[in-house]
């Protein structure tokens, strides 16, 4: 092998041998530099690291919007009142469908969806788009039929739809949902007031497109919480059934019935006529139908108010049950002449008889003896003119004019005592009288019993608003209300049910109009609770402009029918049985 020699006398091998360490050194330095740089990337400052991760994620990740499943609404026995059902959105990706299959896809979709096959074919064939909407919403049955065909390029996206399986039952109380920008939103009723709990959380979730990275699953906690109502589905059904029947029988223009447990404020049933179908909100022409008059419709209660006047007077010590007055048939107060409902004079009358016979002059006399401050303090204590704070949206506070208000006059003191010139909602009325049934303690009315968040169950505890009257006063007023129902010749025989002592009061109120009061029309009502010695349920019946006019004639029979159903539904034995069983130390059970 020949070697060449340079001018310096060195061979090529010598030169290579002399330069090689330099080259090696250079390579080592460069490699070290690279190693140092690589190792530096392992310990980056957090903000730089985040930026790199973000850039990396942009290449491999996409953001998926996960709508939240809305919580279910149940009645107190677990009957579903609002659930979610499936609907589908059907789309096609034309660029994924082979040209010779497009006619077949159009034919299949057209047949199932009842759409024009040719129009569908045009959509699939002519539009070179990545996705085209075909139909939305599509029922679960049809969606499943399409899914079963397993056609490439046909995209089926599930849509959640709120469904109210009980139809019109309790619709104003449950409410409905509307499509909001990001999620469904409760509009009225429980759907509205508990929207934050029911709605859940919509998540924007990053999903990796790298096939060997673990798929991201939805976060289970995003689902809305379930809500259990105090409403009893069966009670609610009969409330609506009896209300509809009563309105039709009496040709009333509307009405409300509320059934409540006075011990804890649980609303067992609440209905107003007319109602609506929450499954068909689009079909409602009159938006007024969406209101819940039981909590938002104010009315002059008429004689039912006398119960509150009597309780306030007894509790303040203004009168005793033995108190009497001379009823002369007319009482002039503040420029108006107060008369009894039958225009009669009753002579010397005691407090109990004044309530039992529903005498306007008796109540006006009591109010005058109480004086403005005591009278209006008593009404305020009963919650007149204030919202009850029920957990439903849209509650009205009613109207109570008090001394000092520009439109208050001295005659109001007299007329307010028997329920004129003062307005309440049905819920306010029943809540106030519930205080008498509950030994003087006024409970906060409520419609939600529990909130269920997965394994966690939060029980809504009953809460008292305030003590309105003493237990002794409550007992006295209860006895008076019993007398108001059972009074010989002046009671309410149509409200009585055999075997049970009822404490109640009728109300027949004229309807105010811009020119005074409407002629020949009334709001007929009856409020009662039973068993009178241990009240378990209180019912308010209210009918607007019924043909029968008087509360004792049109509202009392509905109370009776409702009460007869409730003793069965709630398992309330007759008074003699209950007292005998209690005396024997046993617990009642039904056969």
């Amino acid at each position: 092998m020949a070697t060449t020699t340079t001018r310096t006398g060195l061979t090529q091998t010598d030169i290579i041998n002399r330069r090689l360490p330099l080259v090696i050194l250079f390579l080592v330095v460069m490699a070290s530099f690279l190693l140092v740089r690589v190792s530096q990337y392992q310990w980056l400052p957090p903000e730089v690291e985040r930026e790199f991760q973000l850039r990396s994620a942009q290449n491999t990740n996409s953001v998926r919007r996960l709508p939240a499943e809305r919580g279910v609404i149940y009645d107190r026995d677990g009957q579903p009142l609002a659930v979610n059902t499936i609907q589908y959105e059907i789309g096609v990706s034309p660029n994924l469908i082979l040209s010779d299959r497009r006619r077949e896809v159009a034919a299949n979709l057209g047949l199932i969806l009842g759409l024009d096959e040719f129009a569908l074919y045009q959509q699939i064939d002519l539009q070179e788009q990545s996705w085209v909407l075909v139909a939305r919403p599509v029922t679960a049955d049809l969606g499943q039929q399409i899914a079963d065909l397993d056609m490439l390029g046909v995209v089926i996206n599930p849509l959640s739809k709120r469904f109210y399986p009980q139809g019109t039952l309790a619709a104003p109380l449950i409410g409905f949902v509307i499509e909001a920008e990001n999620n469904t939103r409760g509009a009225i009723g429980v759907e509205g007031s508990y929207n934050a709990q029911l709605a859940g959380r919509v998540l924007e979730q990053e999903v990796s497109n790298v096939p060997f990275q673990l798929p991201t699953d939805a976060d289970g906690s995003q689902r809305g919480m379930d809500v259990v109502l105090t409403i009893d589905r069966d009670v609610q059904f009969w409330v609506e059934f009896e209300l509809t029947k009563a309105v039709q029988e009496t040709n009333a223009t509307g009405g409300s019935i509320i059934v409540m447990n006075p011990r804890n404020g649980d609303i067992l049933g609440m209905a107003s006529y007319p109602g609506f179908d929450a499954n068909n909100i689009a079909g409602i022409e009159d938006p007024k139908l969406l209101q819940n008059p039981a909590i938002s419709g104010v009315y002059e209660p008429g004689s039912v108010m006398k119960v509150l006047t009597m309780a306030g007077a007894l509790n303040s010590g203004t009168i005793t049950p033995q108190w009497t007055y001379n009823d002369q048939g007319v009482l002039n107060v503040g420029g108006i002449a107060v008369q009894n409902w039958d225009r009669s004079a009753y002579g010397i009358v005691d407090a109990t008889t004044a309530l039992a016979k529903s005498l306007n002059i008796g109540m006006a006399t009591i109010a005058l003896e109480m004086g403005q401050e005591r009278f209006y303090t008593a009404l305020r204590d009963f919650g007149v003119g204030q919202r009850t704070g029920v957990d439903l949206p849209g509650e009205e506070s009613g109207i109570l004019k008090v001394p000092g208000d520009p439109d208050w006059s001295e005659s109001n003191l007299a007329t307010n005592s028997f329920g004129q010139g003062v307005s309440l909602t049905p819920l306010q009325m029943i809540t106030a009288v519930s205080a008498i049934a509950n030994d003087g303690l006024m409970m906060q009315p409520r419609v939600v019993l529990q909130i269920v968040d997965g394994e966690n169950v939060v029980n809504a505890q009953p809460s008292a608003i305030r003590r309105v009257i003493t237990a002794e006063t409550a007992e006295i007023v209860t006895q008076m209300m019993i007398r108001a129902v059972t009074e010989e010749g002046g009671g309410v025989p149509l409200a009585q049910i055999p075997g049970y002592v009822i404490a109640g009061k009728t109300g027949t109120a004229e309807i105010p109009s811009p020119t005074g009061y409407e002629f020949g029309t009334s709001i007929a009502s009856f409020i009662g609770f039973f068993p009178a010695d241990d009240p378990q349920v209180i019912i308010l019946i209210k009918l607007d402009r019924p043909a029968g006019y008087w509360g004792s004639q049109v509202a009392a029979p509905i109370f009776k029918r409702m009460a007869e159903r409730l003793v069965l539904l709630l398992g309330i034995p007759t008074d003699d049985v209950r007292q005998a069983l209690t005396a024997a130390g046993g617990i009642v059970t039904e056969r």
């Binding site: 659930v83 399986p165 059904f237």
Partner: protein, 155 residues
């Protein structure tokens, strides 16, 4: 003797620089191929498993939606008007207060404190995970997985 025969073999093989390089490159390539195969097998296995997980998640979501759908349908079939008409069709009539008889159950108190059986100490026993994987087992698993993928690909 042994050393001589080894030397003889080397001489016969012509153990020159080219052969030495080949002797290094070929096993190196083989090892690289084995690792590449294992890597591909592992990645494909992950991808397959993840696809299965995705399908399971989709199936679970579908079943949950179907459950909700059925819950709604059952509730709609159990509405009071339907139950009433069905009951009337079967000859039932609405009950009245006189249809109910009440009994005293001596000594029965529904509000008594509940007697709860104390949990068995064994109930709290949590079985520790047992690690029983062997290298041969792992290798077999990879081989099976590879075969499965080829079978899937072919099918």
């Amino acid at each position: 003797m042994t050393q001589d025969s080894f030397q003889h073999t080397l001489e016969r093989f012509g153990w020159n620089t080219r052969n030495q390089a080949l002797a290094l490159i070929v096993p190196g390539l083989l090892i690289a191929l084995v690792f590449a195969g294992l890597y591909l097998s592992q990645v494909a296995s992950f991808a397959t498993t993840n696809r299965q997980i995705e399908e399971l998640i989709a199936e679970r979501d579908r079943l949950e939606r179907q459950n909700e759908q059925l819950r709604g349908e059952i509730a709609a079939l159990e509405t009071m008007p339907r139950l009433l008409s069905h009951a009337e069709g079967l000859g039932f009539r609405p009950a009245t207060a006189t249809d109910i008889e009440y009994y005293v159950i001596d000594g029965y108190n529904p509000n008594r404190s509940r007697t709860v059986v104390p949990p068995d100490a064994n109930d709290n026993f949590q079985q520790a995970a047992v690690y029983d994987e062997t290298f041969s087992g792992w290798l077999q698993q990879q081989w099976d997985s590879l075969q499965q993928q080829f079978a899937n690909f072919g099918g």
